[in-house]
């Protein structure tokens, strides 16, 4: 039962990734992103013309973003297993995991607020829209920190059968390095580091999708490693520490 629940949690992460794509891209139409160089009137036009689409897509995200949580709980548990107790790394992992669903739902709240009153002053809509993009694209710190901790854990895992292969550690560093440019969107209104740019949006989005899928697969394997360990313990009639 443990194994089924935990593997479901891992795949739920991938399902939510798909859900995010459907909600933001196909329903709300906010991907590809609008240009930050648009005037307030042009921005307001997008939110009034596509108001219903945007509100439906983002409403779904505000409701469902929290389903990322089991995936992150499993991730934190596996870090806890490597660390061996509730130490700094696993606790930081838990704390930052709490912020993860907010990255999606908080930005969506600003997005629906922008689309909610099409008749209002365009400047206000633009300000709310800016907040949407600032949170959605620019708030990369928590996830990068999580990923760096995960990479570090993979490298220091000295157990006979480690939970993750070492290449997964390097893979996480790759993601961390490529995710960082997103933080620069506050400094640009055009070009590759603007919120619709190649370096700040498209590459981080692509590597985020790859990371979610690879991490989900690796987590299911880590669950198998843990299950095998538990079986050996049971066969040897050893006391099982609470994981």
């Amino acid at each position: 039962m443990h194994v089924t629940i935990e593997k479901t949690a891992a795949w739920l992460g991938v399902a939510m990734l798909g859900g995010f794509m459907v909600m933001f891209w196909f329903i709300a139409g906010l991907i590809p992103p609008m240009s930050p160089a648009l005037t307030a009137e042009q921005t307001a036009h997008i939110y009034s013309d596509h108001g219903l689409r945007i509100r439906i897509g983002l409403t779904l995200m505000i409701l469902f973003a929290w389903l990322f949580a089991p995936f992150l709980a499993l991730l934190s548990r596996q870090v806890r297993r490597i660390e061996g107790y509730w130490g700094v790394m696993s606790l930081t992992q838990v704390m930052l995991s709490v912020t993860f669903p907010f990255g999606f739902s908080l930005c969506a709240l600003f997005g629906v607020a922008a689309a909610y009153r099409p008749e209002r002053n365009p400047d206000v809509t633009q300000a709310l829209s800016d907040m949407f993009w600032f949170i959605f694209v620019g708030l990369v710190g928590p996830l990068i920190t999580q990923v760096v901790i995960l990479a570090f854990c993979v490298f220091i895992d000295r157990r006979q059968v480690p939970s993750f292969p070492r290449w997964f550690g390097y893979f996480n560093i790759w993601y961390a390095v490529l995710g960082v440019p997103g933080c620069a969107i506050y400094l640009f209104k055009a070009g590759p580091l603007a919120w619709n740019g190649v370096f700040a949006f498209w590459i981080p989005l692509t590597v985020f999708c790859i990371w979610m899928i690879v991490t989900a697969i690796m987590l299911t394997k880590a669950v198998d490693v843990e299950a095998a360990e538990r079986e050996v313990r049971a066969a040897n009639r050893e006391w099982e520490p609470a994981a």
Binding site: R166, W174, V198, F199
Partner: protein, 208 residues
């Protein structure tokens, strides 16, 4: 990539495999996993370079005119500085393998000094460009110039952390196979930083 050839001569014990099998296997510098990061990073920098080339094709005259306002002296010096640092790192890795701790530390310190010179020259170059009115908002060339060299500088700063890590490893009297692999992987990353700069130097300063 400098380490490729050097590493082939290393004898890295591989746990659980017979010595005959180890001999026939081609040696991967570092550990295979590190190449996920290195190749992944190269692919993405390839995208960065392709984006630049695409933008350049949109306004070739502007890009060529702006290119002439760059300080080629600083760019060339920085290229030589990084090439020297790579040589230091190659020599350091060899020294670590031969357990010559003193020499290895000296070489890595040399590489770190090169890195600091690079950062210093970059700071001087940025300040001079901004003082001359060449800011990222001036035109697309300068936008890409600052972003691409900035992203490279970000990699170089990670590289400085890696060099410091190598320095701590060089102080150890004995290195396990895993640690030797870590050292090789770190060295490969430094060579990547060097390689990316050479391409960037050619793209930004030279190609007309």
């Amino acid at each position: 990539m400098g380490t490729g050839r050097v590493s082939q001569t290393s004898l890295r014990p591989v746990g659980g495999e017979s010595s005959a099998a180890t001999r026939t296997l081609p040696h991967v510098p570092g550990e295979p996993g590190v190449w996920i990061f290195l190749f992944g990073d190269m692919v993405v920098f390839g995208v960065f370079f392709a984006t630049f080339m695409y933008q350049r094709a949109q306004a070739p005259e502007l890009f060529d005119a702006s290119r002439h306002t760059l300080s080629i002296g600083i760019g060339l010096t920085n290229t030589l500085v990084l090439l020297t640092s790579s040589l230091f790192v190659v020599t350091a890795v060899r020294a670590i393998r031969l357990s010559q701790r003193g020499a290895a530390q000296l070489m890595l310190a040399g590489a770190l000094v090169c890195a600091l010179i690079f950062i210093g020259l970059k700071a001087i170059e940025y300040t001079a460009k901004v003082a001359a009115g060449h800011v990222p908002t001036e035109n697309d060339f300068y936008l890409y110039f600052f972003i691409l060299t900035g992203l490279h500088l970000f990699h170089l700063l990670i590289g400085v952390a890696v060099l410091i890590l190598l320095l701590t490893q060089a102080r150890r009297s004995h290195l396990s196979a895993t640690r030797i692999a870590l050292v090789e992987g770190g060295a490969c990353f430094w060579h990547l930083v060097d390689l990316l700069w050479i391409i960037l130097f050619a793209l930004l300063y030279l190609v007309s």
